[in-house]
């Protein structure tokens, strides 16, 4: 079963993801114009794009655990998942800037003053170097440092989920599920990949 899935996955080229990625965006915008997103399409589009971006981020973080624990090999899709996540988060940010807030003076005030926006912006800023180095040339050039840099995916996913939790009104389950999943993935893998050496404890005692 596992081998059959892996064989099938090998036949799918990674570019399929890049080709499919914009299709939901086109569909969402179209729905917005014809009323499919309800009577307040700005907020609906903003939320949809953000949620898809978060889902893709988490999907990217699932690649290694899926290989380790279930033997499924999705490694060749990981870069595409990350870049498409960045694409969605960028559109999410643009919808917020251009259609939602509209008032330039308020944008900076919101970033500084509103914790959920500060957290979301921080996650986006941390994603920029990751997106810029998601290519073979950067992997070669950066060597071991590339791995350290891309460890940032873990805090980005946690911050993204936290951004969702912080903007919810009342006690809502859905954003908490995303945050739990993000923290679970960090617990599963993030520690092992911690890029800086951990100081051995109790050394003085031993000597």
């Amino acid at each position: 079963m596992r081998d059959r899935i892996n064989t099938a996955l090998r036949r799918i080229p990674a570019w399929v993801i890049y080709v499919m990625a914009p299709l939901p965006v086109v569909w969402l915008v179209w729905q917005g114009f014809i009323g499919g997103l309800g009577v307040e399409p700005i907020r609906a589009l903003e939320h949809e794009l953000g949620e898809i971006g978060l889902q893709l981020l988490l999907a990217g973080l699932c690649v290694t655990p899926l290989r380790r624990y279930l033997g499924l090999n999705l490694l060749k899709f990981r870069r595409a998942l990350g870049l498409v996540a960045f694409f969605y988060i960028t559109l999410h940010l643009l919808v917020w800037l251009v259609l939602d807030v509209q008032i330039p003076a308020q944008i900076w005030a919101d970033i500084v003053k509103r914790p959920y926006i500060t957290v979301g912006m921080l996650a986006f800023v941390l994603m920029v170097p990751l997106a810029l180095t998601s290519n073979n040339a950067s992997v070669r050039r950066l060597g071991a440092r590339w791995r350290r840099l891309h460890w940032l995916t873990y805090p980005v996913a946690v911050l993204g989920a936290l951004h969702f939790v912080l903007l919810a009104k009342g006690f809502q389950i859905e954003p908490l599920i995303y945050l739990t999943l993000a923290l679970l993935l960090v617990a599963l893998r993030g520690r092992a990949l911690w890029p800086w050496p951990v100081k051995p404890r109790g050394r003085a005692q031993a000597s």
Binding site: V39, L99, R114, L167, K169, G170, F171
Partner: protein, 267 residues
């Protein structure tokens, strides 16, 4: 007095009501789910006939009042009001309803009463959203007695001359146009007159963000977002934000209720 000045005043402001479709498909009614479309999708399950409103506390004639009996005694009129949600969107709604003051008079408010407490129906079998602890159910709200007796404050039973749909709070809901929408409690089953400030659901959930008064005020931000502007529903992708008005545009009528109060403290 109310009849001659208020509804006419609302019309004189040149308010263009939102479409029926907009008013009835974009709702916050967490008892049916936290999504804006959830109430329209799921509120059909609510039984609104028969319906009784229990009048209790400091009233001369406490008891259960059947909805039909209330309606037989009330004068229903149209009120075109601005509706401003705490989430910074807004609509204009042509309500049909009667003044809350008339309903309170039916029960006879006793002289010591200072506040009015309201409660929404709690029906786990009919309200799929109450399975989740989004808020501490049942939903409760409250007004100071002078706010409740103000002629702008109504109990709405219709929209555009039709019975109010379940997702908008059938069969009767409070409408206080100068306060954020969540104060206008839906599907009311209980009204209690008290001499102490009653608890309110959003204040219980997060006192830092939601005060007892919750008057629309562009100068007092919600801790998580600005209240200076609002987005009118119905403008599609290119809806322009508009400036939010003090007391949602009803300052001339209600500002005197809060004379001398620090509105950033009593938010």
């Amino acid at each position: 007095l109310a009849l001659t000045t208020l509804p006419g005043g609302a019309r004189a402001q040149g308010l263009e009501p939102n479409r029926w479709e907009e008013i009835t498909s974009y709702n916050n009614y967490y008892e049916f789910g936290t999504g804006k479309e959830d109430p329209k999708a799921y509120a059909d399950a609510l039984t609104t006939k028969p319906w009784t409103v229990t009048m209790a506390g400091m009233v001369d004639r406490p008891g259960d009042y059947a909805f039909e009996d209330i309606m037989a005694k009330m004068t229903v009129e149209e009120r075109i009001y601005r509706f401003r949600c705490v989430e910074a969107w807004s609509m204009v709604v042509p309500w049909n309803g009667f003044e809350l003051a008339d309903l309170l008079d039916l029960a006879g408010v006793q002289s010591g009463a200072k506040y009015v407490a309201f409660e929404t129906a709690y029906r786990p079998d009919e309200m799929r959203g109450v399975a989740y602890p989004v808020l501490d159910w049942p939903y409760v709200e409250g007004l100071r007695l002078d706010e409740a007796m103000h002629p702008l404050t109504i109990m709405a039973t219709g929209i555009y001359g039709r019975d109010i749909p379940n997702q908008n709070g059938a069969p009767l809901r409070l409408v206080v146009p100068w306060k954020y929408g969540f104060k206008s409690i839906k599907s009311v089953v209980r009204i209690t007159l008290t001499d102490t400030e009653p608890p309110t659901s959003w204040n219980k959930a997060n006192a830092r963000e939601y005060g007892f008064y919750s008057n629309v005020n562009p100068e007092v931000d919600h801790p998580r977002w600005s209240q200076a502007t609002e987005r009118p529903i119905g403008g599609g992708f290119f809806a322009k934000r508009e400036s939010t008005l003090m007391f949602n545009g009803y300052a001339d009528e209600v500002a005197s209720l809060y004379a001398g109060m620090d509105l950033s403290k009593f938010f």
